[in-house]
């Protein structure tokens, strides 16, 4: 058990390290120039040299990502609760949620950028649109998956709607919500980056996507890789955060966190 758990930490780390070493070796042995494929050491050095400008952009992307994720969580959960309590509301609004989900974000981002004055706000909206559907859909399924016998029991004890929500529906939906959050976390980052590409690199308040665009205009390949590295690290960090959250909330009782 502990051996398996330790392996689950070391194996992916070793695999990642192995990949980087191989990459470095191939670039060096073949003498591939950095404007075609920079070695990891060059990417790291570029990252260090440009840390000031990249760090500010990184913070901006993180702000958009987590802002959108927080909005998606609040909006998705509230809407799911409303749908679970009112069937007509669900019938009326769920098609719009699906329409938003299936429309490619790059196709609506330019419109949003035109209608909304603040670039930050429009980026937030774009990332939110991408991120909120998995939370809405999963939470709704979770709210409906409550044990029917427990439902009857609460009816028998005369529970109010609010008590039913608090003591039965929300805990039942929690594993589903967490599963949705794991998907939405990555999607929020994708949404934040893609929307910024659609917005184009402009202004002072810009994120990592703008750095990547700028670097590509100047064919600064190592800098593109440096910015990309930060995007990937952010995504991995978000995934690990949702893992920690899942363990903390479901660890003692849900089968998905056992064994």
């Amino acid at each position: 058990m502990t051996v398996a758990r330790r392996a689950s930490t070391w194996v992916p780390l070793a695999a990642g390290l192995g990949l980087l070493v191989t990459w470095e070796a191939i670039v060096r042995l073949r003498g591939i120039p950095p404007f075609i494929l920079p070695a990891p050491s060059v990417v790291l050095k570029t990252l260090w040299d440009n840390l000031d400008s990249l760090f500010v952009s990184w913070l901006f992307t993180i702000k958009i990502t987590f802002g959108a994720l927080a909005l998606a969580l609040a909006g998705g959960v509230l809407l799911a609760c409303a749908f679970a309590l009112s069937r007509p509301l669900e019938l009326a609004l769920f098609p719009f949620a699906i329409a938003l989900q299936v429309t490619p974000i790059v196709a609506i981002a330019p419109l949003i950028l035109i209608y909304v004055d603040s670039t930050t706000a429009s980026l937030l909206i774009c990332a939110f649109i991408v991120a909120f559907f998995p939370i809405l859909s999963n939470t709704l399924i979770g709210l409906r998956a409550a044990d029917p016998n427990l439902q009857d029991l609460l009816t028998l004890y005369g529970a109010t709607r609010w008590q039913r929500l608090r003591w039965l529906l929300v805990p039942s939906a929690l594993p589903y919500l967490i599963a949705g959050l794991k998907i939405s976390g990555g999607l929020a980052l994708i949404g934040a980056v893609v929307a910024e590409f659609a917005a184009g690199a402009a202004g002072r308040e810009t994120g990592l996507a703008s750095r990547i665009l700028e670097a590509s205009f100047r064919t600064e390949i190592p800098k593109m890789y440096a910015a990309l590295t930060l995007v990937v690290l952010t995504g991995v960090a978000i995934y690990l955060l949702t893992r920690v959250l899942s363990r903390a909330l479901l660890g003692r009782w849900h089968p998905s966190e056992q064994g």
Partner: protein
């Protein structure tokens, strides 16, 4: 405190077209422990759900102390075939649930729950989660939850059917001790003749679908029941009587 249950010419037909119950009439007296016995699919559980007001009769009436069951005027508890615990809550919080719904504070509900768990010998597992308990312990927890609200009517739907025989015997005795302490009106659904006779003062036998009453047998055995009763001739004689009624009813159903 206790409540009389009346079923008056109750028919129950489901939307699927299945007729579960046909012309069911009986009166269960306050504080009586009644076993509802019958083959599977005869509508035993439907009777419980009608008494609980979770289903409405298609025709006829179900009344508790003269009030329609759908009004839920009497405090009631229900024990399902599965323990039906909240997996995300500790044993203590599971047992405290009915009091919390009734508006008790967290600390008051927990104190009462701990007492209820002591009564069923589960106090030292109060902070465990349901997944960490054996089947018998989960059922004890479920029974503790059912009794904590001091129900006037206790409905039990084959609660021990999934347990091994030794555990079932022990839980039968524990249930009787708990019931004896407060004497709510109890309706116990089972398909075991022995369990029905051992637990109850009266056995109602239902025939095959659609469920009709085919026998109403008082059980003349001393109370409180003791485990040694299971081997006594008087107990076995009662079991024989109930078995005959059950088999006679099934045979009649086949011939009809």
């Amino acid at each position: 405190m206790s409540t009389a249950i009346e079923l008056i010419a109750v028919d129950k037909r489901f939307e699927s077209g299945v007729t579960a119950l046909k012309g069911l009439s009986t009166t269960i007296w306050p504080g009586q422990f009644v076993a509802l016995l019958g083959p599977s699919g005869c509508g035993k559980s439907t009777v419980l759900r009608l008494i609980a007001g979770l289903e409405q009769p298609t025709s006829g009436e179900v009344r508790l102390n003269g009030v329609p069951a759908s009004k839920r005027a009497a405090p009631m508890s229900y024990v399902f075939q599965e323990p039906t615990l909240m997996p995300w809550a500790s044993v203590l919080d599971n047992v405290a649930l009915p009091l919390r719904i009734a508006g008790a504070s967290r600390s008051a509900a927990r104190a009462a729950a701990l007492e209820a768990l002591e009564d069923v010998g589960l106090a030292e597992r109060a902070s465990a989660y349901p997944a960490e308990l054996s089947g018998g312990m989960k059922m004890r927890c479920s029974i503790a939850r059912a009794l904590i609200s001091r129900p006037a009517v206790l409905l039990l739907d084959e609660p021990f059917a999934a347990l091994d025989e030794m555990t079932r015997h022990r839980l039968n005795d524990e249930l009787l001790a708990q019931w004896g302490a407060r004497s709510p009106t109890a309706v116990f659904v089972t398909h075991s003749v022995y369990e029905a006779v051992y637990l109850s003062q009266r056995v109602l036998v239902l025939g095959e679908r659609p469920g009709r009453m085919i026998a109403d047998l008082p059980i003349a055995l001393p109370a409180p029941r003791a485990a040694s009763l299971r081997l006594e001739e008087s107990f076995l004689e009662q079991c024989r009587r109930v078995s005959h009624a059950l088999e006679g009813g099934i045979a009649a159903g086949v011939l009809a």
